[in-house]
């Protein structure tokens, strides 16, 4: 009874998903609740619903992406949407056409939604200013990757249904990660405690202002946390300047999750947004252990994206 009353009072009013900074706790919980229905659908013999049958969606990927693009595409196809993929290996600037012109041309073909991945923070906001379509951020530079955070949180809640007061550690390159920013936004709104752990050169200035603790001690962090999410280390050079850590070997020694950690600290669960560098962020055995829920993240990703697509297409309930 009580829950029903709450549902009536709440109304999902967002037109876009640009970042979790713009979504309230209620919004996040509502999306996740919708995602549970879609998650069930995915387990059916015919995992399809025709809810986006009359919708046309463009996946606008200015950066390489395998799993995010596949996950969105699968979500769209399972909902019966018409899907167009636009992949630009190089930026619009290099191609000679501005992003504004590209998106306006595409939207002239009558598009309902745009899923966008771009190396520049803020591009999803830019799109809302130049086209009349629902915009979903599939990663903008090191800014936000809201559907990734939503699927991470969805997966965490399968282990810990109530995240309030739970301890979440995010380990790795915090500076260059869009995943971490969206996760911090979302997790703090749900009342979780967040510690970011890694070498000091991977920590953005003022990171504490986002409401997190900072650690450079992996053992302390792992003994404290309920969930440890390791981030991909970019093996290629960071930025254009000096390397931010001396070697992969030293990184793995100091910040890689190893089997002995699983034995020493029996309570934490292992996550990774992928793709994993085995032997860098964690030992291979850790990724494949029972304590890892990495593949659950991938499956849940499709359900969460279905929920987001559904809600932003104008649906309010299934």
């Amino acid at each position: 009874m009580k829950q029903r009353k709450k549902e009536q009072a709440y109304e999902f009013t967002h037109r876009h998903l640009l970042g979790l900074a713009d979504y309230s706790k209620e919004d996040i919980l509502y999306v996740l609740e919708q995602a549970t229905y879609f998650r069930e659908i995915l387990d059916r013999p015919v995992p399809k619903v025709p809810t986006l049958r009359d919708k046309t969606i463009v996946n606008l990927f200015y950066e390489n992406s395998t799993r995010t693009r596949l996950s969105f595409e699968l979500a769209q196809k399972r909902m019966g949407a018409d899907v167009v993929n636009f992949s630009a290996g190089s930026s619009s600037v290099k191609k000679g056409e501005t992003l504004k012109d590209t998106i306006r041309n595409i939207s002239s073909m009558k598009i309902d939604m745009v899923v966008v991945r771009h190396e520049s923070p803020g591009v999803p906001y830019f799109l809302t200013r130049v086209v009349d379509a629902a915009i979903i951020n599939a990663g903008d530079g090191a800014h936000e990757h809201p559907t990734q955070a939503l699927l991470d949180i969805f997966t965490m809640r399968q282990v810990h249904p109530e995240l309030e007061g739970k301890n979440i550690a995010i380990i790795g390159d915090i500076s260059h990660s869009r995943v971490v920013r969206s996760n911090i936004m979302g997790l703090k709104k749900l009342g979780a405690n967040v510690t970011v752990c890694g070498p000091r050169t991977f920590m953005p200035v003022s990171i504490k202002e986002l409401g997190v603790e900072v650690s450079d001690n992996l053992d302390e962090t792992l003994s404290w946390c309920d969930i440890a999410m390791a981030l991909r280390i970019q093996l290629e050079r960071q930025g254009g300047g000096v390397e931010l850590f001396p070697s992969i070997r030293e990184y793995h020694e100091k910040f890689g999750i190893k089997m002995h950690h699983l034995e020493a600290y029996p309570d934490f669960t292992v996550m990774h947004p992928g793709p994993i560098n085995r032997g860098v962020e964690m030992e291979s055995e850790v990724a494949d252990s029972e304590r890892s829920i990495i593949l659950n993240q991938v499956t849940n990703g499709v359900a969460v994206r279905m929920a987001v697509l559904y809600l932003l297409s104008g649906g309010t309930r299934i």
């Binding site: 900074a21 830019f126 930025g239």
Partner: protein, 431 residues
């Protein structure tokens, strides 16, 4: 722009370092000179009468840091459109930076700019390059450029990054009694930053340019100025620590001067978040923090910062309406400089009118060894007529620049430059 050599400005308050503007006067201008200052002057036959009751008349203002883009980038700005923007902002003189194409690195380019601005009411003083081709390798023909009319040397847009080049430039320019203006940036420390590195850049995931990238370079230049006896002018200062460095260097008697852009004592990096990555909030140096903004105002008030400037940097719409990290740095500023100064410095009670005008009239010219215009009979009429109370909203029709890249479009303004008089021309700004 009307050509009216003979003019009678009525009922105006005169203000300069010698005039406090306690009473209203009339000012008669004949053949481009101040012919008479007095009360209740009668208009002569051909004189146009301009009633300026309630307004102020000061020596003409100067912005010593603008980019007029000509030659080479005329789609952004030309000397003519830049001068229109300057006139609307109340400026009778500007000094333009040499990052044109070709750069202002030889006397012929200096003279090209001087010639282009000759018929215009605004005087344009070219700043020559420190280095040939503005390439940062070896010094340009500074003495020849000085003879052609250059007033200072700078590689602005880029720093003089090579320390030995800076040493040689300071030594050579000190022989000419000319300042070196440096865009203070350690290019390695600044990373490919797109905004100030701080809590907002952390939140937005934009690579940041830390204040230290500016401060390290200023510290180097102060030491080199002391070592060589040359004059370093720190371009567009923007951090609290940088102001402190200049303050200490001045106390030590080192020949260092500096300037601040109007946006740097007005806006903070929060603006980029609030406006969702609006590229009209992207410039270099970037918008910093509130602490830095406060330090700019303090530095202006205590004399550490000598000059108010704009770093007027026009870019075409299609260049600015792109992804944030691809957008070029810079905003236009001539049209809005006075209102920002009135709001942040005068109305806040931090500075009085004379102190503000010193940064717009006297100091830039002193730094560049130019004559400071005077309000006296017989002097050339180089004047700005303005008020400090008129409320208006800055709209596209007020943009006289060829480009419209301003974060102030739609903003409420207070105080306005009503007209300028210079080179025998009277330009009245209509709202």
């Amino acid at each position: 722009m009307s050509h009216t050599p003979d003019l009678l400005i009525k009922n105006v308050k005169l203000i300069s370092q010698k005039h406090k503007g306690n009473s209203e006067n009339d000012v008669r201008i004949r053949k481009g000179k101040i012919a008479e200052i007095g009360k209740n002057l009668e208009a002569g036959g051909s004189e146009k009468v301009h009633d300026a009751k309630g307004s102020w008349l000061s020596p003409g203002w100067m912005d010593m840091h603008v980019h007029f883009r000509e030659p080479g980038y005329e789609h952004k700005e030309t000397i003519e459109t830049g001068c229109r923007a300057a006139a609307f902002g109340g400026f009778t003189e500007v000094a333009c930076m040499p990052n044109t194409n070709p750069p202002i690195h030889t006397r012929d380019v200096v003279e090209y700019i001087k010639n282009k601005s000759k018929p215009l009411p605004v005087e344009v003083h070219p700043i020559g390059c420190v280095s040939k081709e503005r390439a940062g390798k070896s010094i340009a023909e500074m003495a020849d450029m000085k003879d052609g009319g250059a007033v200072a040397f700078s590689d602005d847009g880029d720093p003089v990054y090579d320390s030995e080049l800076m040493r040689v430039a300071l030594e050579y320019s000190s022989m000419l009694n000319m300042p070196i203006i440096n865009h203070e940036e350690d290019l390695k420390l600044s990373r490919p930053g797109h905004m100030h590195e701080g809590k907002v850049s952390t939140r937005l995931g934009l690579e940041g340019t830390p204040g230290i990238a500016e401060e390290v370079m200023i510290a180097r230049d102060i030491l080199l100025a002391e070592f060589t006896g040359g004059h370093i002018h720190v371009a567009h200062i923007s951090t609290a620590k940088a102001v402190e460095l200049v303050r200490r260097a001045k106390a030590d008697g080192i020949k260092v001067t500096t300037e601040v852009c109007t946006h740097h004592f007005d806006l903070t990096d929060e603006e980029i978040d609030r406006r969702h990555f609006d590229t009209n909030c992207k410039m270099h140096p970037p918008l910093r923090t509130q602490e830095d903004v406060d330090a700019m105002i303090e530095g202006l008030a205590d004399g550490t910062i000598d000059v108010i400037c704009t770093d007027h940097a026009p870019h075409a719409i299609e260049e600015k309406e792109v992804e944030f990290i691809y957008a070029p740095n810079g905003i236009i500023g001539l049209e809005t400089a006075w209102s920002i100064s009135v709001r942040r410095l005068l109305k806040s009670g931090k500075m009085d009118l004379q102190a503000i005008l010193k940064k717009l009239v006297d100091n830039p010219r002193t730094i560049l060894n130019l004559d400071v215009p005077e309000l006296k009979e017989g002097a050339a009429a180089n004047l700005t007529l303005f008020n400090t109370d008129e409320k208006w909203v800055f709209g596209e029709s007020h943009v006289k620049s060829k480009s419209k890249n301003s974060p102030y479009l739609g903003a409420e303004m207070i105080g306005r430059a009503e007209a300028i008089y210079n080179k025998g021309q009277f330009v009245v700004n209509e709202l």
